[in-house]
Point group: C3
Chain length 299, copies 3
């Protein structure tokens, strides 16, 4: 009787709420939409189970840009329902020794990707529940073993579809790895002497806005409030590319057309724009781990 | 007995044929497909109800181009089944005082959009049955209240999905407005002294063809028939950018490659092209409310 | 009894396994995604039957490029489940005498397209089971008879959707034609004096890689193995545009960044690339029936 009680306690302790896959697969790649590559991936997936629902994140990641792949996943993944399976194929090292993995996150998402840095940010954002290496001998489109270069279709899309449909259990993906993914080094947001430092991590490219990784909460800690003016410096490594003072507002129409403004973007991160203009083009700003931004409240 | 009869009469009188939502949501925006914004909108929508069917109109509306947003809706919406819910997010005034609305049309479609001119042409094409302002206190993705800049995801996609799924009744969108949308002024097609005047309202951009708002019926009124030659002038405000005489035909192969031709496009409007060439590029023609075209039958 | 036996034998002999349509429609065109044309096609299709599943191959075929339309179908179609209906609308001759057809292949796919060369390669790849001309008097979106220029929406999408949903039987498409499609002439892969000759049939455009139509099996016949060096010449008609010697490897990382390499692409055809670079741009190589490649093993 006592040991039964112990067993129950033990079961309660080890129990973690399970999110099972929901039949949704979301694809990301650097393939573009001009050829048939994305379509072939989807054909393979729907061939696994016609009841799957297939969507896209983006296929316009610049070729080989792992940093941007990482950011797009961080930007969009958490808006999908728990249990969604994401496939990301930005894979400059295809054919080399990089591992193909499936990551299950603490909040119940699955990511199928080469382990090359793509998972850096969603791993930090969501936490890793378990990481498995895809065993390509068993998780591969039948008949595809001679193809060396289209893992996206033959391994990733196929495995994601089988996982999403429930035909493949997560435990059968392949061997369990340490819960650690290959990660890109970048300037995390910090405050030093009331200067906030962070990364220009991406451009809101359609509009030329600068998006940083500095969150609302850090602005609050530095006492920066709506209608304050902030002094901004943007560096590419050691070269200063922009310096200026702009208002921090919650609507673009707070400044005249053509004027710079800072605001919180839809991820609630500090961002800089020109109202009805293109900040990045105007000041030749790009994005990535080498682009550092410093901001300070003007007194 | 008599009052029962009265009641029946009354019911017949107030009855209007109801088109209910059909579970289809069609998205339009100026976000492009390079980042995760469109995907985040769809994730929110499918999170509302997994049985929804999500499609796109286009996400390549040039940034802030409300006129083009209006035209794309007019071009494509009526080919979807009645009951479809459209979401259009071209929103230069996000955060300003422009209203967010849902328009129900007389022929049974729903449009979720900022009320900034986007609905000009579908309102004229389909007629407004009712217009409601979205009450953002109740129609907003839970947890999104701190975000000031991504109404497309947090308000429009969320509201459209709830409406399309039947979880939100049209009457619960928000307060009823006068059935009138903000409208863009443009040259409507007219005949004066046997000259037809209209707007170059859009380019068939992939091919460089000029599409006008002059309908087939007006050409018939002016006596213009297949194989007639027509004299064309195209102005940008007061500046004459093209003048020439071309045949009016019903197939491009009616003229040699490289020659200009006029024809009815798929909306049955008067259009001008170069067979296997690019009219707009060749003659530097753009489109919009400032681009006026005049045509006259050559005797 | 004997005649019953004969009948059974006969039935077995004439029986061909039937693949019926599976409710999936895959769209291809040269319309691009900037306007509402693709959306209008899908609206018409989903209006035929809400249970259809609609996908894309690509809509970025360069305008009027029938050769590329043919290649994209060959690249992707066979990865979709049997019974899928493809619609391809690359149609420079719209309105002329080219026929609109539905081709059923021996392996159970359906292709709806103008018969203008688009079907050249899938017909060779899959074999033609039957070819029917679309009778446009009966297979046309109701109300569209006045439109001369948007066959993609009014005839092709509508017919494909009805076929995919089972509402239109293949036999009711229109009259049976000879099982022969209009075909583009190109250099098929051959070996002469241990030189392999073929076509640069397409660029892997996102990366600038050269894809040829020379299959793995022909390389094996010529004794070319992994780690061999091969001498390559690329001609546009009679003009020599590239000559060089590169390794034949099964991973890009076999050469340093910036170096050329040859490999098998995902279709198991001979291909040439620059590791982390753009071969086509660097050497001004394009693709199509006029681009011939010769390769020879270096001794």
């Amino acid at each position: 009787m006592k040991s039964l009680f112990k067993l129950i306690i033990l079961l309660v302790l080890v129990y973690q709420p399970g999110y099972s896959q929901n039949g949704i697969v979301v694809f990301q790649s650097d393939f573009g939409l001009k050829d048939g590559a994305v379509s072939a991936m989807k054909g393979v997936a729907i061939g696994v189970d016609k009841k799957l629902q297939l969507f896209d994140l983006t296929h316009e990641i610049p070729a080989y840009n792992i940093w941007e792949a990482a950011l797009r996943l961080e930007q969009a993944a958490s808006y999908w329902p728990k249990g969604t399976v994401f496939v990301s194929v930005v894979d400059p090292g295809v054919g080399s020794q990089r591992k193909s993995v499936v990551m299950e996150t603490l909040n119940g998402y699955f990511f199928v990707s080469p382990d090359n840095g793509t998972l850096t940010l969603v791993a930090q954002q969501m936490g890793i529940k378990a990481l498995r290496e895809i065993d390509e001998r068993i998780n591969r489109l039948p008949g595809s073993a001679d193809s060396y270069t289209f893992h996206g279709r033959d391994v990733y899309a196929y495995t994601a579809a089988r996982l999403a449909s429930g035909k493949l259990k997560f435990g059968a993906v392949g061997k369990l790895l340490e819960p650690r993914v290959v990660s890109i080094v970048y300037q995390k947001p910090v405050i030093e002497n009331s200067i906030i430092k962070g990364t220009v991590n991406i451009l809101d490219i359609q509009y030329g806005n600068i998006w940083t990784n500095i969150p609302k909460t850090m602005l609050e800690k530095a006492g920066i409030q709506i209608n304050d003016r902030v002094h901004i410096r943007i560096y590419n490594e050691t070269s200063l590319n922009y310096e200026g003072t702009v208002v921090f507002a919650n609507t673009f129409s707070a400044v005249p057309q053509g004027k710079a403004i800072s605001y919180l973007n839809s991820l609630l991160n500090f961002s800089v724009a020109i109202n009805m203009g293109n900040f990045a083009e105007t000041y030749k700003i790009a994005s990535g781990p080498t682009w550092v931004i410093e901001i300070k409240k003007e007194q």
